[in-house]
Symmetry: D2
Subunit: 281 residues, 4 copies
């Protein structure tokens, strides 16, 4: 039995160096690890499909930092490598805005600049706004709130507005304390069933959508039993229920992580903007 984690960097620890699994390291503001699973066969023992998993590890996102600008730009640059060059992008916030550790997605989307409607609306004098890449931004809520599975809702919207790609932001679970609230994961494999704090049931990926689906998330919860084993080296007795826990300062974690990620998305989508432009949105 393996503890649950949504982080590839944790679940792939045991297979590093195997054939078909390539790893690169880089980064200035973050320690960046890119794991490339080159084919589905290599990923199979791990329950992962082929694709690129980029992990950015740094200081606790709930702490104040002087490096926000550099961090946002570094994250934007990583994100840009996974995006198509042109076309409308549908940004989607998964998760429940009423449950703080699960609210990362909706909070990010609230700060993403929606521009898809500007080209029809604006006159020619507003050249700058009209020059922006078309972006739609949706945080529709989770299944228990809407009666509609997140992937089903986004699929309906994608059929209607025909974006070139989706960026889906979600809060994640991890299995190692040191990554809780310190790590950002980007992947071109989308979001698998059973992942995320709110446990999505349907795949949200290139296979179901027919376009690239970039997933972006931060671990905000950890299983209590995982945590106990991580700290003591001993597995808890298999009694009682597991429970997801979150740091006491989760409000600040969500608030600051959402701001950083939204800045990075806006920078990645609009190269004509700089950090000062997007930081106040």
């Amino acid at each position: 039995m393996q503890y649950r984690t949504d982080l590839a960097v944790e679940s792939l620890a045991s297979v590093r160096g195997r054939e078909g699994i390539e790893e690169q390291r880089r980064g200035k503001y973050f320690r960046i690890t890119e794991i490339h699973i080159q084919n589905d066969r290599a990923g199979k023992p791990l329950g992962k499909t082929k694709g690129r998993y980029i992990t950015l590890e740094g200081q606790p996102l709930s702490r104040f930092s002087d490096d926000y600008e550099g961090m946002a730009e570094e994250l934007a640059a990583e994100l840009r490598t996974l995006l198509p060059e042109d076309g409308c992008i549908l940004t989607a916030g998964l998760g429940n805005a009423d449950i703080t550790p699960d609210a990362l997605g909706p909070r990010v989307i609230g700060k993403v600049l929606a521009t898809r409607h500007l080209q029809q609306e604006l006159g020619e004098e507003e050249d700058f706004l009209r020059s922006l890449r078309p972006v739609a931004a949706l945080a529709g809520g989770v299944l228990g709130q809407t009666g509609i599975e997140s992937a089903e809702l986004l699929l309906a919207v994608a059929k209607q507005i025909k974006p070139a790609a989706v960026i889906a932001v979600d809060a994640l679970a991890c299995s190692s304390l040191e990554r809780l609230g310190t790590t950002i994961q980007i992947s071109d494999t989308g979001i698998a069933p059973g992942s995320g704090v709110a446990n999505h049931r349907t795949a949200l990926n290139a296979t179901t959508f027919g376009i690239p689906v970039i997933a972006l998330g931060v671990p905000t919860v950890i299983g209590m039993r995982t945590l106990a084993e991580d700290l003591t080296g001993r597995r808890p007795l298999p009694t009682g229920q597991d429970m997801m826990v979150t740091p006491r300062d989760v409000d600040r974690l969500i608030s600051q992580a959402a701001h950083l990620i939204a800045c990075a998305i806006n920078l990645a989508l609009h190269p004509q903007m700089n950090y000062a432009d997007v930081a106040g949105l």
Copy 2:
């Protein structure tokens, strides 16, 4: 030039009694007026399509009342007359959750019981929950937040989940001070372009959706110039900009109106529930 209002009871005042326009009165907790425009020809001079416009007038919704239960049941009964007997209902909250006078729709939807997913999910022992009519609930945000017109978003969702009807809740503008925050309007004509506090651009009605679209709203704003003429009997000078204003206690108006309307929607959709069941949702 006529001042803007979303209330049929105001815009139709001048044509009452004409051929093709029928009026009925009833109600215990509210003074209820139903105006039935029997064909498009009769509605044409007013810019209204044929359909039923039900207005419920009462005490200020921002005040405390001992009659919530009776009010919710009376509103539910009116709403039920416009709904198909069976099939999934898509409830939609229009408006911007971040602008208090425009937040009625999202606030109502937050309290509507989403049940569409329960039939697949629940085991046979949970007979009560499985017996509930399937309901989906969505408050996706306004064009400036999402880059997607509300009607376009809902049309995409309706194509996907194929509801039997839509209930769309929105904050409205009125032209008479006495109706501000005291009136609820229900109509089977949907939502016209240019209506609502946030000014929808695309029709959300039976023609575009192919199923009944029930609109439900409360006036929460009034044009400043309308208000001035209403109070003084003199038309303001045609200088300066008009501005929508709202009562100082708009937070309480939205909070209490949202609670009442959500209770009524839940009662209308689930006759097996009573007020005590829905009041705590």
Copy 3:
């Protein structure tokens, strides 16, 4: 070394039955334990002053329950045994409203009926409101927000309004998982330095205030290392920092616990009101 807990029922486990420590059990909706430390000598080994510690244990407060009315009345009855019969009560919400697990106090105070000003204000016709016991309600914020220690702020207010007693509500830390979010503690010993989620520095008790100070709290956080030892039976390595964690559904825990406690305080202070009166406040 003992793990930190604010619950007497946990810290006193080892000395039960000793001279000067009396224990009683009762309760219908909760399992109620009252520990009475009869003199300071008996409490000394535990760092506790003499006084009564009443613990109410039940189902998770974040879950829905059909028993709210009975729970609120049982809690009110316990609280009433510690209150003076007459005179103004100053209710105080400790903690930081911006940090969810620490927001219990401010959230309770937002629902406590403030009545101290009604006697001067109201005319004779409003007999019911004028008959209510005078109550003041304050949630001033924590030291980092205000620059003023909570006890210092409340002492200043108490000097001004001269209440007969203080009820101070705070979020607590516990050391046993089964009590996290399931337990309510009431005590007539006030709030000690170092206790509470936000770590108060100055005593808030009968000695410093010269009047009874009733403390009421719910454990909403647990030390991560305590949790690990509780689950595995092995003490974590003494490396790294400890961190307070909270359940993923802390928003609902705080919301429902605040509602229950506020109902109980309003019932305890105003015997002329019943549950239906206070539940909607």
Copy 4:
């Protein structure tokens, strides 16, 4: 009968140029008017005490502006002229955080840097933080929430912490549409009974407090009947109730005005900080 306004620039319009009333104009980012009532005799016909009333008029505070930095610094400079050079400052947010147009005071205080506790707490290595002027920050709520009049609460706190001056921030009423949401008023005369959106009952001024009390406010509401007369030139019939109204975009007005004022207060109190330091607080 005169319509209600809290703005000296409106109530003093008729007496400009009289003996004992001096007027100065200045400003770059705002049009600044300082009215100096030199003695109580000159102020008597207006119900105003002697003192300085500084009005800063500009663009709508709810709109986006590129000039925030200049505006904050100009406001800080005006505020600094009324403050004592040394000593602890008690900043106070009047008004009700739950009623948007009345929430200006609490929202400002949430962003004021509280420093009074830092000198005792911090070690010598944290020279910068220890060098900051001691500031306390309190937003205790209004009479209906607390049972304690705002002035009474602040007086109790001032006795305890003995500040050199008070800065009290409040939302105001105005009688001219063009000043609604566009004007900031600073005064060294404190806050008079009957003023502010929530209608304070007790004076909060140098006479009652024995130290300078600086009032700072923005008009966020206007009387409906005042508005009607302002627009039509005709007085409304003296029937029905008056009602305070507020612009539809009051959420953004409060949010942006609170940010600007908090920046200005932080800059005025800590000359060693610049706009970039305070803008992110």
